[in-house]
Amino acid sequence: MIDLKKLAFASTIALAAGIGAAQAQGDLTVAVQLEPPHLDPTSAAAGAIDDVVYSNIFEGLTRFMSDGTVVPGLAESWEISDDGLVYTFKLREGVTFHDGTAMDAEDVKFSLDRARAEDSVNAQKALFTSISDVAIIDPLTVRVTLSEPNGLFLFNMAWGDAVIVAPESIDTIKTNPIGTGAFRFVNWVQGDRIDIEKNPEYWGTPARLDNATFKFISDPTAAFAAVMAEDVDMFSTFPSPENLPQFEADPRFQVLVGSTEGETILAINNKLPPFDNVKVREAVAHAIDRQAIIDGAMFGLGTPIGTHFAPHHPAYVDLTANSAHDPDKARALLAEAGFPDGFETTLHLPPPSYARRGGEIIAAQLAAVGIKAEITNVEWAQWLETVFKGKNFGLTIVSHTEPMDIGIYARPDYYFQYDNKAFQDLIAELNKTTDPNERTALLQQAQTVIANDFVNGFLFQLAKPVVAKIGLEGFWVNAPTQAVDLTAVGWTE
């Protein structure tokens, strides 16, 4: 593998001179790592679905912009009652689905009711649980009533899981998605590619591209070859960060590294002795050298975090000093907790390289203070079964990619089993608060509580490297939600 890269590097230099393969200005081939299982974003957690359909094919009442702000989507405007319980959405006029049917209040009611129904299979059903009623006022006005105020409601409606779908096309949505977006679905050759094309009837700013093709390449070597051979014009979330300098040095390509909502943590089983002792968790926190992990496992990509919160968010508090790398302190804390000679535990590692590579480094860092972590590599399905559901683990590494998910620390039955009544009350209050300043204060308080309780080892915010050909512009650099939004993408003249 290493030899290949060296050879490839040499060949790059030989190549760099004369390339100018003409490509159609309106076409784009974009590669992502994983193929979606199906194309219904409202009934699976797979980010690969959102990669293809979010904003391109499906739209919600609100939507995320690349900088993380939430702007009007299919809802042109809204009014919120003074008690924060009633949202009256005014829908855009003249919006049609790709099959020609009109998008109106009926579709909104159908989509929201479907997501919160008893037999709903929406992976983010929690986004909708505060809704108590959806009423149609007129074809372009919908009134949503909440059972309690929810400061995140408009934010929640921007998720891919909350897009507006039509009852007419719901039965075939998994293989033939019909949305309202700037692109419409053309074809899916399973295992190979998905084609989408410009929607000429689009209500908003029309797409700049005429055709776009998604390709699915998960093998890092194949990904490298596909970009080098210019089989693909753009690779969103390139799988091997070690290749990036090579692309940067190549005049054919641009490399952009953006931020994501993925807090990568060393999750600790808070109920499993000795981790039920806060001193032990504090020792773990001080045993970790974040920068060594970022450099060693991610080749420098990633921002250190000291709590479960995205550093690019305005409410972020930098608490990394709270758990600074200090092996001596870690050893002292272990001795205080009654483990002068350390102890043995398990470390379960799911497939992504941040976990597999990072895990080796963390195991070594823990060993340096006397904690012997036995590494077990697991597949995702197995991880979900034993770690997530069975809670049968000591330590594990995982990236939590959902936006604004600090609320998971208020779920005592969640896999890391952090049970703190004060924190749960804090989150309950946060959920009810709609005033932005009060929300910021509460969010900061929440970040500090979990950092001081050393609930998990907070490692780094996952970065998103994008490799694209020179001349391509308008794509998302940061990823406030998992998406490859092509609506503004085009080639420079």
Binding site: L4, L7, A8, S11, A14, L15, E35, P37, H38, S43, A44, A45, A46, E118, D119, S120, V121, N122, A123, Q124, K125, A126, K174, T175, V189, Q190, G191, D192, R193, K215, F216, I217, S218, D219, T221, A222, A225, A226, M228, A229, D231, P351, E379, W380, A381, Q382, L384, E385, T386, F388, K389, V398, H400, E402, D405, I408, Y415
Partner: protein
């Protein structure tokens, strides 16, 4: 001949029945649940339960086994848990890549191995033989994915004659399809050709030392005539065995090559389905592969009987 064929057929059916049992229950005991895989780590328990019942996973295991095997007899392989499309359709689409690829690779490897093996045998101990044997030694030792990466580097990244991977699809034309399969087929064929050439050579050499070959020469045939009329038929038996094994291997064992060239073949389908615990797809594809291996062996058995009349008589 008929009795021989029937006997073989019976053993084929028995093997299939046993295989289906083993496959189903081995795969079902592996930890992991397709519904929780689909819904991820933010889903609520009742949502997972709702999806499980939607997928029919809340039914007892033996009942699902019976449904599955019963369905297969009528050509209905069930519906994929994650893709939600009929498994039979998925397999058919993937076979349109895997089967041509396997045949392409087999044709290439045979086309290389036969002349190389015959040449080496006829030049036994001479420089030509040593050169061929040396080359095949390398071919056997080097893994096919390494060939694959080298081919991509030279012909896709540098020379740009082929794309680095992917499959254009047969609907874009037979030639484009063959073109996308060329590099994968070569990388699969090279190690197979090396093995086959060695078998061909040693099998021929064994035959050349046989008494009946001397007799053939004694009755006045030239070396060449003796080889083609009497030697080849006998030397082909072990070669056929290897070709049969190789075909099964090529159909099932090209997972890594499909991964390197991101081809939408059967191997990659199995790989994806295992990681997403799409059990019904895994079970059906594995069953199909087992079936094809058993079928190929059956056909090879029949081919033996055609080449070697003694086998027919023995039953």
């Amino acid at each position: 001949m008929l009795r021989y064929a029937l006997k073989r057929l019976l053993s084929l059916l028995l093997s299939l029945a046993v295989a289906s049992l083993v496959i189903f229950f081995v795969i079902e005991v592996a930890p992991g649940d397709p519904a929780s895989f689909m819904l991820g780590i933010n889903a609520q328990p009742e949502t997972v339960a709702a999806l499980r019942s939607e997928l029919g996973l809340d039914v007892a295991k033996w009942q699902r086994y019976l449904d599955w095997t019963g369905g297969m007899l009528t050509g209905d392989f069930g519906t994929s848990y994650t893709y939600r499309t009929p498994v039979a359709e998925m397999i058919r689409d993937r076979l349109w890549v895997s089967l041509p690829l396997a045949l392409y690779a087999l044709t290439l490897s045979t086309a290389i191995a036969f002349p190389a093996g015959i040449y080496a045998a006829s030049r036994r101990g001479k420089p030509g033989d040593i050169a061929v044997m040396g080359a095949t030694q390398i071919g056997v030792a080097v893994p096919n994915f390494w060939f694959a990466m080298m081919l991509v580097l030279i012909f896709a990244v540098n020379l740009r004659w082929f794309s680095a991977g992917g499959f254009a699809g047969w609907d874009t034309g037979v030639w484009t399809g063959i073109r996308s399969l060329t590099l994968p087929a070569i990388s699969l064929a090279l190690p197979q050709a090396a093995i086959l050439a060695r078998v061909m050579r040693s099998s021929l050499l064994d035959i050349l030392g046989e008494d009946f070959m001397r007799t053939a020469r004694a009755k006045g045939l030239s070396r060449r005539q003796a080889l083609w009329r009497h030697g080849m038929r006998n030397a082909l038996i072990p070669v056929l065995t290897i070709i049969g094994l190789q075909f099964s291997f090529l159909l099932a064992g090209s997972i890594i090559i499909e991964q390197v060239f991101y081809l939408p073949g059967l191997g990659r389908l199995v790989f994806q389905s295992i990681s997403s615990r799409d059990l019904i797809v895994v079970e059906s594809v594995v069953m199909l592969l087992v079936f094809s291996v058993i079928l190929v062996n059956f056909l090879v058995d029949l081919a033996y009987a055609l080449v070697d009349p003694r086998l027919r008589a023995r039953t």
